[in-house]
């Protein structure tokens, strides 16, 4: 039972990181209707920025906060100068653009900081504490708590502030939002910036255990996209639940299903998606979308 609890808590910690990335993807999708495949790549860039700062002797927390702010700005700039041209067009083209961005950013990280693994310092100690008789790492608990706090913050921003209301208005109907005098362009930039900032947090949380490489977030992107499909693009809560579910299930499968093991656990979300798509194509929590011609 001890091992089981440990696996579940570690899984929740991993899952919560996927959830942050997935939320960033949903945020962009709600605002612009496209799926940003570069979300993970942008997160890696932010993490490299934080890593460079810590190398200069900046305290870790400050470095992460700075990288979050920088990511917000970069996210906004990418929306304005790269994505804006493609937003109202064919979503498939926009997706190809984000894939191009992913390649460009990954290549930039590899060129600037080499493709070798870098050690990223952890926010939390590597000690374990006893929880219901199981040894659980402080890092897992800390990660989970930070993520929950961030989600509450994002929720508060969207539900409780005028800025959040404006963002939601743009997401629901950009034309009407523009008619009511909202600066749609700047709000879209802010949406991308927020998503990039979320990604920066996810990167900083996941980097200590994965070690920092340009392709660090590729598998996290697969998990996040699986969570987005499972949860349904229109349901942030569903996405978070799905991401945590994926984190826990892949950890359990790695240990209890011999064929899967640690190397093939990336297949778990894929199998889950497969099953759900066949049984319930709109996702666990999603709504059916009706298209009008």
């Amino acid at each position: 039972v001890g091992q089981f609890i440990q696996l579940v808590v570690d899984g929740l910690a991993n899952g919560s990181i996927y959830a942050v990335l997935a939320l960033a993807i949903v945020l962009v999708n709600q605002a612009t209707g496209l799926v940003n495949f570069a979300q993970g790549g942008m997160a890696v860039l932010s993490t490299y920025a934080a890593w460079r700062l810590t190398e200069q002797g900046v305290p870790l927390v400050v470095a992460i906060l700075v990288s979050v702010v920088v990511s917000f700005v970069i996210g906004g700039l990418i929306e304005r100068f790269v994505m804006r041209r493609f937003e109202r067009g064919d979503p498939d083209t926009a997706v190809v653009v984000t894939i191009g961005l992913l390649t460009l950013i990954t290549g930039l990280c590899g060129w600037l900081w080499s493709y070798n693994n870098q050690q990223f310092p952890s926010l939390f100690s590597l000690d374990t504490v006893s929880l219901f008789g199981a040894a659980v790492s402080v890092r897992s608990i800390g990660t989970f708590v930070v993520v929950v706090a961030i989600m509450l913050l994002v929720q508060a921003l969207f539900r409780g502030t005028k800025f959040g209301l404006a963002l939601r208005a743009v997401a629901i109907n950009p034309e009407s939002a523009a008619f009511s005098g909202l600066p749609v362009g700047r709000l879209l930039m802010a949406g991308w910036g927020l998503a990039a900032a979320l990604g920066a947090v996810a990167g900083a949380l996941v980097a200590p255990s994965l070690t920092l490489t340009p392709g660090m977030m590729n598998s996290a992107l697969v998990y996040a996209l699986a969570a987005v499909i499972l949860g349904g693009l229109s349901s942030p809560i569903g996405v978070v639940v799905a991401a945590c579910l994926i984190g826990v299930l892949e950890n359990l499968a790695a240990v209890y299903v011999p064929f899967i093991g640690y190397d093939l656990r990336v297949a778990v979300p894929f199998i889950l998606v497969f099953v759900v798509l066949v049984v319930r194509p709109q996702g666990l929590f999603g709504r059916k979308v009706v298209v009008r011609v």
Binding site: P91, T103, L104, N218, A226, I229, A267
Partner: protein
Amino acid sequence: MSRLTEISSLPWVRWTAGAVVAVVLLVLPLVSSEYANQNLARIGVFAVAVLGLNVVMGYTGQVSLGQIFFVGAGAYVTGYGANEGWNIGLVLLASILLPGVVGLLVALAAARLGGLAIAMVTIALPIVGVPLAKRLSDVTGGSQGLSSSFSNAPAWTGLFNDQWQLYLVLVIGGATFLLTRNLVRGKYGRAFAIVKANEAVAASMGISPYRYKVLAFTVASLIGGVSGFLYMAVIQFTSPETMTFGHSVTLLASMVIGGAGSIVGSMLGGAYYVLVPQWTNAIDPNMTELLQGALLLLTLFLLPGGLVSLPRAIARRLRRNRRSGGTGHHETPSARPAPGRDGVEETATDGGIPTERQEQV
């Protein structure tokens, strides 16, 4: 220009041109260097892979990041079958059918969600494929990979290996190109195009978007299997490295840069896949990915139709200059080629993934 298309649509011109091309292709492997032959054969291999991607993405408008997985699967089946001593025809058949079946199963699930679900699901294929290939080490040789020399030139031909392999690519790849060209120009091609343009309209015309998406994806994976067979024939070695995520993205970039929804564009894409990494590696291996990303984005911004649309883009630019020069030279605003068999492909190219919005701000 319109006179040129008129001449080239005459039957006897087309037949002669075809015969000339065939003779050139027949003689070429005999006279060019070993290095050139190998490069040409590799270009052929990846041109077929890009062609497959084009069927699902360029013609049907469904972004797929999994094409390289089917190439890898085809290569593994080929290597395994050849080493087990199966009949080579059987090997070819198996290397096409197995990826096709996997593709069909993936598509049956992925196409159920509209929109971008196929992209979101297929991104998992290369990422799951690499550890899966390592795990099935009894069949795949694990991380060491699998080599096979079934494609060495038989003694009776008196050919060198590189010549024999290039002939294999020309025959099998050529047949694949021909079949695919007929597919996308016929009734299926029109169905793909309407699914791409507007799924709701397609459904109202009695064309089920789901069925045609599944069909396109399955055809793409079958063609991926052909490419895998040729890959094994030319490179004679495959490993999990063949189907990494990076290669998958490069394949997609090759398709867009070559020209989405175009047969010629697929060939250009194959050339891009083989040649451009060679050049970027020569500049600085650490910059390969950076340059690739930059090239892809530049193409999307400046030449959304890909390289294949370059002549037309230049012609359009020239025409515009001439008109603004005010010489009074009268010309129809769009010198589209004469309607007929060619018109089908032209509109298909025009509707190629990234085109439509070039004038948009």
